[in-house]
Amino acid sequence: MDERLEKALAFSQFRVTIENRRTAIRRRFETMLMVHHDDGLFRADAITMSFINTLMDEEHTSAILIDEKQNPIEVKDLKVLKEKLFNAYFEATNEYTSEVKSLAKARDVKKAMNW
């Protein structure tokens, strides 16, 4: 086989592995973003966290929020939920960043898999 073609095919296999790993990292990130509070399930994303901040800026201490399952949830203490969401957000983004960085450094399948 032509050497250039051989290299291209090896690179193609490597890309499949990288894509598989990326999917797994994103899935783990999504799992880590979920916060359970007052019988509701919330995602620690920018919209939810900003909305809670706005409610608190408007001096609300409790509110009804629509959770990820589209259920109305009576949040008794917005401050507690905010803290949980921020913790989940920082934990998830830190791990996500470190995994993405280490994947970017991997130059072959073995390194990407920590073989």
Binding site: Q13, V16, T17, N20, R21, T23, A24, R27, R28, E30, T31, M34, H36, D39, L41, E68, K69, E99, V109, A112, M113, N114, W115
Partner: protein, 303 residues
């Protein structure tokens, strides 16, 4: 009295698969990751004795808080298992009393998991704090993030959606939970009739199909969320996939078989996710290594 919470597993050994050994592994992962980690094993005397003899009483004590001995005479239910696309074997599948878990469980709130469901995070703990009567996964994907085959999405191409019985959460004191398990028992007892009514084929009794039918019947023969959808998706490792390396207790490397062109494989690495490891032989191959790592962590063995 305080509400009791815990996880339950069924294990009945067959001539081909040591289910109890895999239950031991699954239980130790639950202990490691979940907050609600009382564990009950439902088994028969022979399987339990073999487990204690072969895997030590110490390990069994670490893993299981409660043991329910249920000497059920299972109806013949042969299943073809794969270990990669190239090896297959037939084994008895003893699942005829799974719907009885509501009677067996010592806990008020129970999470029933299959012995090949490896818990590597605490995302299921939230269920115990909800008002859900019964919850199951409605959606799944494979290790690469692709949706399941149509045969694992619907009972038949124009049929009802398939729910997964791999993970079942329920509150045993709730009337709706009780009704759901009664309905599951009814579907089990009349499986041939429901097979004809819902138009699917195959000779094996599948609990996934039984819970799907029970949920459909209880939802007034329609769609609905009477049976709550567990948040996220059930991640399935196919029986045609394999485990190639265990980097650490919660960091596994898998070989993914291409569904369309099964001579092709790719690899992926999954860290800290709950995975339904359907290739039981693959799990058995890595049992000793993982068990040893867990032993070190639990102070049963030295490094």
């Amino acid at each position: 009295m305080a509400e009791t919470r815990g996880v339950a597993l069924f294990a009945y050994n067959t001539d081909q698969i040591d289910y109890a050994k895999l239950a031991l592994l699954a239980a130790r992962y639950v202990k490691r990751h979940m907050k609600n980690n009382n564990i009950c094993l439902v088994t028969d005397q022979g399987t339990w004795d073999y487990l204690v003899d072969s895997r030590s009483a110490e390990r069994s004590d670490v893993a299981f808080d409660d043991v329910v001995i249920s000497p059920v005479v299972h109806t013949a239910n042969k299943r073809i298992h794969y270990d990669s696309p190239w090896t297959k074997f037939v084994s008895e599948f003893k699942n005829s009393n799974k719907h009885q878990i509501i009677n067996y469980t010592p806990y008020d709130k129970t999470l029933l998991i299959d012995i090949d469901y490896i818990v590597q995070n605490n995302s299921l703990d939230y269920l115990f704090d909800t008002d859900s009567e019964v919850a199951l996964f409605h959606n799944s994907e494979d290790l690469a993030g692709f949706p399941p085959a149509i045969t694992e999405t619907w009972l038949k191409p124009t049929g009802i959606p398939m729910l997964w019985s791999t993970v079942v959460y329920f509150d045993k004191h709730n009337d709706i939970s009780r009704m759901f398990f009664d309905m599951w028992a009814h579907v089990h007892d009349n499986y041939d009739f429901y097979k004809f009514l819902y138009g699917f084929s195959g000779n094996m009794y599948r609990t996934d199909f039984a819970v799907s039918i029970a949920a459909h019947l209880m939802n007034g023969m329609g769609d609905g969320e009477l049976v709550t959808d567990i948040y996220g998706k059930l991640i399935n490792m196919s029986q045609r996939d394999d485990i190639t390396k265990v980097n650490a207790i919660d960091d596994w490397v898998y070989l993914l078989n291409d569904r369309m062109e099964n001579w092709k494989d790719s690899v992926t690495r999954i860290k800290g996710e709950n995975v339904h490891v359907m290739n039981k032989r693959a799990l058995e191959r890595f049992y000793n290594y993982i068990s040893h790592e867990l032993d070190i962590e639990d102070g049963i063995a030295e490094e």
